[in-house]
Amino acid sequence: MLRFDRVSLTYGNQKILNDISFEIQEGQFAVFIGPSGCGKTTTLKMINRLIQPDSGHIYLNGQDIASIDRYELRRHTGYVIQQIGLFPNMTVAQNICVVPKLLKWPKDQCDQTVRALLDMVEMPYDQYAHKYPSEMSGGQQQRIGILRALAASPPVVLMDEPFSALDPMTRRSLQLEVKNLQQKLNKTIVFVTHDMEEALDLADIIVFMDRGQIVQTAPPEEMLESPATDQIREFLGKHQSAPDPAGLTVDQFMRTGIITVKQDRGINECVSRMQHHNVDTLLVVDGARRYQGTVSIADIRLTGHVVKTIGPLVRCVTPTVHTGDNAKECFEQLISSGFPYLVVLNGDETVAGIVTKTSMASAMAEQLWG
């Protein structure tokens, strides 16, 4: 659909873009991200020929865009900028119709387009069509900015940090709207952002740039899983570990300071320990503090009078896991086993802690609220 073939640009002796090649498929939501000044905007503006490359070619559906009239090209390519740039001398309806008018659509087709588009973003025609940009909020203005870009139904829409000037709530709802529109209308979108969260949420494919070069091109999941450089890892920041439960281990959530008892201890000592700590089971360990099993107050009541030490009463049915095991899998095991807890062992089989449903709840809370 859209292909850059070894595109370079130099201003003076500064290389702005250095041999960029990539391809975006039809209907893809491609997000460009990278540190400030890395060339994202420059790359974007080459797609509608606002900037000409020094060398290399850009193909749109197989056609070199250098051979397309630049006004025609721009009229058939949507363009949304960060500053919004709605024409303040025109009403909402006039702003939306700028491109259709340039394309000499008949008036009633323009009107219909305005109605349909305003309808799509749930801004009633009667209420908004004749407002001026200065009479609307920033979020409403950028909605119209997006509609203006969509009005002539261009197959490709370019968006340069369209939401970065908006407050977080508005940004969120516009992100959802854009993603919806893109899927509904099957647009190819090239989107520039500074915000990794935005990139991860919206992108089918993320292109990470640095100093005029592409560092990694990957779908969000893949970039999260295996970022190509430390810089990308840094950009991914909190998103990398937190939303990825695969990285959490059970020892981050287990309870420690568990009461144990040696297997050669007498029944009485064991019972008094249980009473003292107000528990009904104890973990039993051997001389080297290795885990042997559990002993419960119920078993002691039943058969305590025939044995001297707790050794014979030790049961070894409670499931055990090891520190470093995946937390999610441990939680699943805890639930499916029906036991009230799992025992977590260190590598040398000594007791590290236990995992209860309470630990699970706190782990989930941490996931949700950080």
Binding site: N48, L50, Y71, E72, L73, R74, R75, H76, Y79, I81, Q83, I84, G85, L86, F87, P88, N89, M90, T91, V98, V99, L102, Y132, P133, S134, E135, M136, S137, G138, Q141, R148, L158, A165
Partner: protein
């Protein structure tokens, strides 16, 4: 008394005629040159200061010089006044076009407008308040500059003023000066009306509501 009123009205009519014709010519010239210059920023950088200097040449000197060329005719008056009327419009056109926010120019380019469409649909409308501000200045100035027409005996309200000055007759001076002041107020008011009509609603209260 009646005779006096008629002569004042006659002079005022001539004066108004000079003003309107010169402002019209000056505005067209100023707008055209201003647009031209704003497309050629390199040229504008040298030409605007030069024009500003020219602008400070006293009208009396200029009219005197022109008189040598075109003689004692209304054309001399109109040419001189038009050139003076042109300056404020020219300057404000260049400034107005220049100060159109980059975001609108970029959006206009991104929408696929060519140079002419950008100028007519976006840049001129956005510069219009500034340009009309220049037109107002030039109208008000021209009313007072038109007094100079009397210097080469081409009539207007300046007649009374010159006669008054040379005969030390204050009443006569006022007879020219008061109507000229009123004329300036009226024409200025007309331009203000034009300002209201020509500037779209979206531009009236502040710029865009970011």
């Amino acid at each position: 008394m009646n005779e006096l009123l008629v002569s004042i009205l006659q002079a005022a009519a001539v004066h108004t005629g000079y003003t309107l014709v010169s402002v019209a010519i000056g505005a067209v010239l100023g707008l055209t040159l201003g647009i031209g210059l704003s497309r050629l920023p390199a040229l504008a950088r040298y030409l605007i200061p030069l024009l500003s200097i020219l602008n400070t040449v006293p009208g009396i000197v200029f009219i005197g010089m022109l008189y040598i060329l075109t003689g004692m005719t209304p054309a001399t008056v109109i040419i001189a006044l038009s050139i003076y009327a042109m300056f404020p419009v020219l300057k404000n056109t260049v400034v107005g076009l220049d100060s159109v926010d980059a975001q609108y120019k970029e959006a206009a380019r991104g929408c696929g407008m060519d140079h002419y469409q950008r100028l007519v649909q976006v840049e001129l409308p956005l510069a219009m308040p500034t340009i009309i501000g220049g037109l107002r200045l030039s109208t008000v100035y021209t009313v007072s500059w038109a007094v100079l027409a009397a210097m080469i005996s081409q009539g207007g309200l300046g007649n009374f003023i010159y006669q008054g000055v040379s005969s030390n007759n204050n009443a006569l001076i006022l007879q020219g000066a008061v109507p000229a002041a009123i004329l300036a107020l009226i024409l200025g008011g007309l331009v203000d009306l034009l300002q209201k009509r020509a500037v779209p609603r979206g531009l009236r209260k502040g710029r865009d509501g970011k």
